[in-house]
C-alpha cells in the first residue's frame, strides 16, 4: 500500500514536472514540426508508411505550383487548458487505479477482473482497447487528404470483428482462463505450447506497443510541446501504474473512460460539421466536389500519375478510389491481416476472459461493433469536414501526413462559436488522444505480462504450483518489467520508422496465433506439434517477409529517388528566367536530395532493394501459418489430443466445466 502511494505521488509529480519543463521550452513544437511525418507512423498504420519517404520526394519533384509554398504552420494549443485537461484525466484514472487496487487480490482479479465485468462494460472496453490514436487521428487525416481511400481503409477494422464474434469470442470464453496459452494448452503438452504461445504474445505486443509508444511521444511533443523523451517516460509511468496496481480492473475502466470520451468528442465534432452542412448529407458531398481547394489538391495528386483533371471532375475524383491505396494486392493482404489478425490479438482475446459467460462475451462484441463502426462513420464526416473547412493545403501545411486534421477541425469549429470554445474543444480532443494512448498501451502491457507471468513463470517454471499471493506478485513484477522495457524501447526507437510495426503485429497475430486458435477449437486431429509449427512458421514468415519488404529503408533506392529530384530541380532552375532562383521550398528539397543521393549501403538485412513487393505479408504468411499448423499436426499425430477433443468441443459450446476456468 505504501509503495502504491509513493508510486502515485511519483507519477503525479512527474507529470507536473513534464508540464513545467515544457513551459520553459517555449515553442519547442516548431522544432519538432518538420519531423512530423512521423506520427504518420502512428496514424494510419501500414498504409501511411508509404507516404513519408517516397511521396514526400515525389511531391517536391512535381513542378512547383504557381502559388507560393505555404508557410510552415503549427497547431496552437492553449497550454493551460490542455495541461489542465490532461491532469483531470490523470486524476480520474488514478482514482480508478486506487479503487481497483483494493479489489485486486487473486490472479483471476489481476488478469480477468475476476470475471466480473458485464457484457456492456466489456463492449466499451474492447472498443477502447482497439481504437488507437491511429484510428482517431490517422484515418480522419487520410480521408481529409485522399478522400474515398481513407474511408475504404477504415472498413476492414470493423469487419474484423465478425471473425471475433462468430469464431473466437464465445469458445475462448468457455475454453480459456487468462491467456492465449490457456486455450492452446488444453489438449496438448502444456509446457512447450505455453512457452511458444507466450513468445508469440510477447512478439505481437512488443511490435504494437513500440508503434504506440513512439507515436505517443511524437504526438505529445506536437500537441503540448513536451519533449519526446519526457513524453515517453510520462506515458510509460502512467501505463505501468495502471497495470501494476490496478490490473485488469483498472485497465478495463481506463479503456471504458477513453472510449466514452472518444465517442463524445467524435459525436460533438460531427454534430458541428453537420450543422454547417445544414444536416444535408447530399449537400455535404456536393460541397466537397465543388470546393476549389479540394479540386486543386486532387489535380496535383493525379498529375503524379500523369492524369490531367480539373474543376468538378477533380472534385468528384476525391470520392473515387485510387488516390492513396494504389496496390490492390497490398490492400487485400492488409485486409486478410485485419480480418484474421484482430481475432488473434492477445490483448483482445484477453478481454473475453473478463466476462462471466459466453452470452456476455457475445453481447460485448456486438456492443463493441456498434461503437467501433459508429466511430468510423463519424470519422468520415470529420475527415471530409476537415477537407472542406480547412482545405487539404491547410492540413498538410501543419502535418504532411494529415494526422492533425481532426484536432485542427475541432479548434476551428469551436472558434466559430467563440475563440475560447475553440481552445477548449481542442484541449478536450488532445486529452482524448492522451487517454487513447494510455488505454491502448495498458492493454498491451497487461497481455504481455500475463503471458510471461501466467504461462511461463507459473505454469512452465513452477508447474502451476504457486499460491494466489505469489501469482499476483509475479504478475505485478512482470508488468513492471514489461512496462519498463516498453519505455526503453520507446526511447530507443525515436528515430526509427515504426509505421510498419502495427501491420506487422496484425500479420503475426493472423499468421501465427489465429490458425492455431481456430484449429485447437475446431479440429479433432490438432496437437502439440501443430501448435508449435503453426506459431513458429506463421510468426517467422510474417517477420521475415516484412524484413525484406519495401517497409525497410533501402539507402540505394533512396539515393536513386534523390537523383531524380536533383535532375528535376536542375531542369526547373534552368527553365527559370536569368537571375531568379528556386523558391525556398525547392531549394531546400534540392539540398536534401543532394545529401540523400550520397547514401549507399544496404537495408537492415543486407539488401539493395526489396525482395518482396508487398508491404503487408498476410497474403503469403497467413496461408503458410495454416499449412504449417496442419502439416505439423498430421506429421506427429497424438492420440491423447484427439481423445480430448470431445471435452474441448463440448466445453466451448456449452460452457460446462467453466468453474475450473473461472476459479472462484
Amino acid at each position: 500500500m505504501t509503495i502504491k502511494k509513493i508510486f502515485i505521488a511519483a507519477s503525479l509529480a512527474l507529470s507536473v514536472a513534464a508540464a513545467a519543463y515544457a513551459e520553459e521550452q517555449k515553442a519547442p513544437a516548431a522544432g519538432a514540426a518538420p519531423a512530423m511525418s512521423a506520427p504518420a507512423a502512428q496514424g494510419a498504420p501500414a498504409a501511411t508508411a508509404a507516404a513519408p519517404a517516397p511521396n514526400a520526394a515525389a511531391s517536391v519533384a512535381t513542378p512547383a505550383p504557381a502559388t507560393p509554398a505555404p508557410a510552415k504552420k503549427e497547431l496552437k494549443t492553449n497550454r493551460t487548458i490542455t495541461i489542465g485537461m490532461f491532469l483531470v484525466i490523470i486524476a480520474i484514472t488514478m482514482g480508478v487505479v486506487v479503487w481497483a487496487a483494493k479489489q485486486t487480490k487473486t490472479a483471476s482479479d489481476f488478469y480477468a477482473a475476476g470475471g466480473g465485468i458485464t457484457g456492456t462494460q466489456n463492449g466499451w472496453a474492447i472498443a477502447g482497447d482497439y481504437m488507437s490514436a491511429a484510428s482517431f487521428l490517422g484515418i480522419s487525416g487520410l480521408i481529409s487528404l485522399y478522400g474515398y481511400d481513407g474511408f475504404m481503409y477504415s472498413v476492414g477494422w470493423l469487419v474484423a470483428y465478425i471473425t471475433v464474434l462468430l469464431i473466437v469470442a464465445e469458445p475462448c470464453r468457455n475454453a480459456g482462463k487468462y491467456t492465449l496459452g490457456d486455450i492452446l494448452s488444453f489438449r496438448t503438452s502444456p509446457k512447450p505450447v505455453r512457452a511458444f504461445a507466450a513468445l508469440s504474445t510477447v512478439a505481437v505486443s512488443t511490435f504494437y506497443l513500440t508503434a504506440q509508444m513512439v507515436g505517443a511521444g511524437k504526438l505529445m511533443a506536437l500537441l503540448i510541446g513536451i519533449p519526446y523523451k519526457l513524453s515517453i517516460i510520462g506515458v510509460g509511468v502512467l501505463m505501468v501504474g495502471y497495470v501494476v496496481f490496478g490490473g485488469m480492473v483498472a485497465t478495463t475502466w481506463v479503456q471504458i473512460i477513453k472510449a466514452g470520451l472518444l465517442m463524445a468528442g467524435a459525436f460533438l465534432l460531427s454534430f458541428l460539421v453537420m450543422i454547417k452542412a445544414g444536416f444535408n448529407p447530399i449537400g455535404f458531398f456536393s460541397t466537397i466536389v465543388g470546393s476549389p481547394e479540394i479540386q486543386d489538391h486532387v489535380s496535383k495528386l493525379v498529375l503524379k500519375d500523369g492524369v490531367i483533371l480539373s474543376g468538378v471532375d477533380a472534385g468528384q475524383r476525391f470520392l473515387e478510389p485510387g488516390l492513396y491505396l494504389k496496390n490492390p494486392l497490398d490492400q487485400i493482404s492488409l485486409g486478410m491481416a485485419l480480418v484474421l489478425g484482430t481475432a488473434g490479438m492477445p490483448h483482445i482475446l484477453m478481454r473475453f476472459f473478463t466476462v462471466p459467460t459466453a452470452q456476455a462475451a457475445r453481447k460485448s462484441v456486438i456492443i463493441a461493433m456498434f461503437i467501433i463502426g459508429g466511430f468510423y462513420i463519424l470519422t468520415t464526416l470529420l475527415g471530409f469536414g476537415a477537407a472542406i473547412h480547412l482545405t487539404p493545403q491547410g492540413i498538410t501545411s501543419v502535418d504532411p501526413g494529415g494526422n492533425m486534421a481532426t484536432l485542427m477541425l475541432a479548434q476551428q469549429m469551436g472558434a466559430d462559436i467563440a475563440p475560447i470554445v475553440g481552445d477548449l474543444f481542442l484541449a478536450f480532443l488532445c486529452a482524448v488522444a492522451f487517454a487513447t494512448i494510455l488505454a491502448v498501451v495498458s492493454g498491451l502491457v497487461l497481455a504481455a505480462s500475463a503471458a510471461i507471468a501466467h504461462d511461463i513463470y507459473v505454469n512452465v517454471i513452477k508447474d502451476g504450483h504457486a499460491d494466489q499471493h505469489e501469482q499476483v506478485f509475479a504478475a505485478r513484477l512482470t508488468s513492471f518489467v514489461v512496462g519498463a522495457c516498453g519505455i526503453m524501447i520507446g526511447l530507443a526507437a525515436e528515430k526509427q520508422n515504426v509505421a510498419h510495426l502495427v501491420a506487422l503485429a496484425f500479420a503475426v497475430a493472423a499468421s501465427g496465433n489465429l490458425p492455431v486458435v481456430i484449429l485447437s477449437l475446431f479440429w479433432r486431429k490438432f496437437n502439440t506439434a501443430g501448435v508449435i509449427s503453426g506459431l513458429l512458421v506463421g510468426t517467422i514468415a510474417s517477420i521475415s517477409l516484412v524484413m525484406v519488404s519495401p517497409n525497410m529503408t533501402y539507402p540505394k533506392v533512396v539515393a536513386e529517388g534523390a537523383k531524380k529530384v536533383i535532375v528535376a530541380m536542375e531542369k526547373k532552375q534552368a527553365a527559370l528566367p536569368a537571375g531568379q532562383s528556386l523558391s525556398e521550398k525547392d531549394a531546400k528539397a534540392l539540398a536534401k536530395a543532394k545529401v540523400d543521393a550520397q547514401q549507399t549501403g544496404t537495408s537492415m538485412v543486407g539488401l539493395d532493394k526489396p525482395l518482396f513487393t508487398l508491404k503487408n505479408p498476410g497474403l503469403i504468411s497467413i496461408p503458410l501459418g495454416f499449412m504449417a499448423a496442419i502439416l505439423g499436426a498430421l506429421a506427429f499425430p497424438n492420440r491423447r489430443s484427439e481423445e480430448m477433443f470431445d471435452e474441448v468441443y463440448v466445453r466451448q459450446n456449452t460452457g460446462l466445466g467453466m468453474a475450473k476456468a473461472v476459479e472462484h
Partner: protein, 103 residues
C-alpha cells in the same frame, strides 16, 4: 468449488449436442464466409472495376461510397442476426441439453 466430472464423450454423442453442433457450424462458418467475401469485394472492386465505383447514385454520391458504407450495415446486420439466432436457438438447445443431463 469442487470440480464435477463429466463424461465428455457421452455428451458429445448426445443427439441434442449433435444438433447444436450442426446448426452452429453451418451458421457460423456460413456467415463468416459470406462476410469475408462481401468485404473483399470492396478492395477488389475498387481496384479492378473502377468504372462501377464511379457510377453516381444519389447526387454526387457514387456506388463506391454506398458500397463501402453498406459494409458497416452488413456487418451490424450479421452481428444482430447472429445475436438473435444464438439467443433464441443455440442458447435454448444448450439449456435443454444441460437439463437433460441433469447437471
Amino acid at each position: 468449488m469442487a470440480e464435477r466430472q463429466y463424461d465428455w464423450k457421452a455428451i458429445a454423442k448426445n443427439p441434442k449436442f449433435v444438433e447444436l453442433h450442426h446448426k452452429k457450424t453451418a451458421f457460423l462458418f456460413g456467415w463468416w464466409i459470406f462476410s469475408c467475401v462481401y468485404y473483399f469485394l470492396l478492395p477488389i472492386g475498387a481496384a479492378y472495376t473502377p468504372g462501377l465505383f464511379k457510377v453516381k447514385i444519389i447526387g454526387v454520391v457514387n456506388f463506391g461510397y454506398i458500397f463501402a458504407l453498406s459494409q458497416f450495415f452488413v456487418s451490424w446486420g450479421i452481428a444482430l442476426y447472429y445475436s438473435h439466432v444464438a439467443n433464441k436457438d443455440f442458447d435454448r438447445l444448450t439449456r435443454e441439453l444441460i437439463d437433460e443431463l441433469h447437471l
